[in-house]
């Protein structure tokens, strides 16, 4: 997207830029405030597409599971479209947002519709994926990552995956379970040899 220049605004004083409000950790007690929007089932009867389930574990540098994390999910529908004009309808009628905490074993699980490939504003098409934000005690701001799918041929042409060194790409791929179709396993490693790829946006 190129920057829009409004000719009428040229010559006007540069607007004052305020210092941003910074992140602070969610701490251990986020459930009190965030539980009202916990959503581990994004699939709804009126949303077309393939229902899938994704599970995984979050592990710290010592490979200890993290029992007090919360993931937020944000994804396109099966046609690769993000929900439009969401404020016009109640949240329960909209699609694409999920929020799931980890359990005592550091596991999370959610059910959704497999997203379609994204036709971005730039010509490059993006392979199907889910955006993920991660929050937890000990994390001073959110981590951002993506879930891609191991069984998608389009991954080879995805501009984001291609920008990552090959040995680390694997951390973004949810693995299809051959015995149970449409069930995927995707694990997050916060630090260490298999550290997950995280994004800056």
């Amino acid at each position: 997207m190129t920057e829009q220049k409004n000719p009428e605004s040229l010559g006007e004083a540069v607007p004052q830029v305020l210092s941003l409000t910074t992140y602070q950790t969610v701490g251990p007690y986020f459930k009190i405030g965030l539980e009202a929007l916990y959503r581990d089932d994004l699939a709804k009867p009126n949303i077309p597409g393939q229902v899938i389930e994704i599970s995984g574990t979050i592990s710290d540098a010592d490979l200890t599971p993290v029992p007090d994390a919360v993931l937020e999910l944000w994804q396109a529908d099966s046609f690769g479209r993000y929900m439009d004009q969401p404020q016009k309808k109640p949240f329960e009628d909209s699609f694409g947002f999920g929020r799931v905490p980890t359990n005592e074993a550091g596991r999370f699980h959610f059910r959704t519709i497999k997203p379609g490939a994204i036709q971005g504003e730039t010509p490059a098409r993006q392979a199907p994926h889910i955006l993920v934000s991660i929050f937890m005690r000990g994390l001073l701001y959110r981590l951002i990552t993506r879930i891609y799918f191991s069984d998608e041929a389009g991954n080879a042409d995805d501009p984001v995956l291609r920008s990552i060194e090959p040995r680390r790409r694997d951390s973004l791929l949810a693995k299809a379970n051959p015995a149970q179709p449409y069930r995927y396993e995707w694990n997050i490693f916060l630090q260490g040899e298999n550290e997950t790829v995280f994004f800056d946006i």
């Binding site: 997207m1 009190i32 944000w74 694409g96 993006q126 934000s133 984001v160």
Partner: protein, 255 residues
């Protein structure tokens, strides 16, 4: 592993204060926007922060979209933390008002804000908080509301208490209220904490001090506000939240 050994060692507040001071002295005022993910005085960060550089993604791709929640999701009474129980909660009643703004000062309207906090005794209504302080049967400690057309919000609550935690020996967190805001894009998502002016614990708190820029730290402290103080009722505090732009360049600090 060095990190694990460090986290196992029980340090005094003096030790933590020294670590905070050494990092502050080394900080060259580069205007770090966000806290550091790798901030050893906050012991829980040691094993939970990535070490590899982040991969930059152009935010004018899909990150320009965001889950948006509207007035459908909240009731007006959801903004009063002192209501909804048989009796009044114990504690000092306060009124918190503020605006949600973008970096140019424009209001961000129609955005969901979720908040949560401890009770007046510093105890959270949460299974993991079992420290020696009473729960209040008339206080849950959460609320949600949507900013109005001018980006404004207002809620009534009781002032949360300071509370002990186990970061180091005799560690106490300053009083704070947690805020969660989506903003207009995936990139603008923010979860932060509001602190109170004059709290003597602020200089000692590793979470507050993980933000290296003094200007940015001060933005996290509410201002006492005569205008919203209600006679014979409660003190007013003002807390404005400034979100980054949806197309802004990446955060300046890397892990």
């Amino acid at each position: 592993m060095k990190a694990a050994a460090q986290s196992a060692r029980v340090v005094s507040q003096r030790g933590i204060t020294g670590e905070i001071a050494r990092i502050a002295a080394a900080y060259q005022g580069r205007g770090e926007v966000q806290p550091r993910l790798d901030y050893p005085p906050y012991r829980s960060s040691l094993l939970r922060h990535p070490r590899s550089p982040f991969v930059c993604v152009d935010p004018d791709e899909v990150e320009c979209w965001a889950p948006c929640f509207g007035n459908h999701e909240v009731e007006p009474r959801d903004a009063d933390l002192t209501a909804g129980h048989p009796g009044e909660p114990i504690g000092e009643r306060i009124i918190v008002t503020g605006r949600l703004l973008d970096a140019t000062g424009k209001p961000v309207a129609g955005q969901l804000v979720e908040i949560w906090q401890a009770n007046a005794a510093g105890r959270y209504l949460h299974a993991r908080d079992q420290h020696d302080a009473p729960l209040d049967p008339n206080f849950t400690g959460c609320a949600s509301f949507v900013t109005d057309t001018k980006g404004r919000f207002a809620f009534e609550t009781i002032r949360p208490g300071e509370y002990p935690w186990r970061n180091h020996y005799n560690a106490w967190r300053p009083a704070h209220i947690h805020f969660s805001v989506f903003g207009p894009a995936f990139a603008t998502r923010l979860i932060t904490q509001m602190y109170f002016p004059g709290d003597p614990l602020l200089p000692f708190d590793p979470i507050f001090n993980s933000v290296r820029s003094k200007t940015a730290r001060e933005r996290l402290i509410a201002l006492f506000d005569w205008e919203t103080t209600v006679p014979e009722y409660g003190l007013g505090y003002r807390f404005d939240i400034v979100l980054r732009g949806r197309d802004e360049t990446p955060m300046e600090n890397k892990p």
